[in-house]
């Protein structure tokens, strides 16, 4: 299934855009997505951390992604 990824900060630079359609399998979790992302964009493996937000809340590796979820890549934050 196709999901829409939103990217901010360095993630946006890695994609060269702020939104990207990305193919994952039905039943894939965040950890699957992370693995696939790193395969296609090895730069992600060099980051200090790589988190994900689903529908505006942080979710852990086990979260199973659903079709209409808003999936946002959260590279290390640095506000303040």
């Amino acid at each position: 299934m196709k999901i829409r990824l939103l990217a901010f900060g360095i993630a946006k630079d890695i994609f060269n855009q702020s939104e990207l359609d990305f193919e994952i399998s039905l039943g894939n979790s965040i950890s699957h997505l992370k693995q696939k992302l790193i395969e296609q964009y090895p730069e992600f493996s060099k980051l200090q951390s790589l988190k994900f937000a689903i529908n505006e809340d942080y979710q852990g590796d086990d979260y199973v992604i659903k079709q209409n979820d808003e999936v946002v890549i959260i590279p290390p934050v640095s506000g303040g």
Binding site: L6, F8, G9, L47, Q48, V72, I74, V77, G79, G80
Partner: protein
Amino acid sequence: MIDIQIKENTLIPLDCENFVFDDSAGGTVVFVGTVRNQTKGKPVISLEFEAYKPMAIKEMQKIAKVAIEKFQVLKISMHHRVGVLKVGEIPIVIAVSTPHRKAAFKACEFAINTLKETVPIWKKEIFENGEVWVAAHP
């Protein structure tokens, strides 16, 4: 009472202060973050802040709620700026009021420390000869 804002124009610390003033408060602490002119000796020209705004507001609200419970905060105001900021400009203001001053210092420090860990806002440092996303790499 909680006041959370993400703004694209100049932050005014007094706005946060005025929000938190309260007759039952014995103290108000205001933290004002400013853009420093250098990082590890390299002159900084500007900082660029970017936010995932709806979630950033939610996460700041969570921090405010925890501060209220944990430190008996009466009122808390957190304003964060986004966009390009020059040296000396203000990206963050946090004000808290509490019945006794000790808790106000603690609550304010808790709020800024937690914001730096959890709130989806990113800053890029712009130098004379390049730019870097802060904290991105180990």
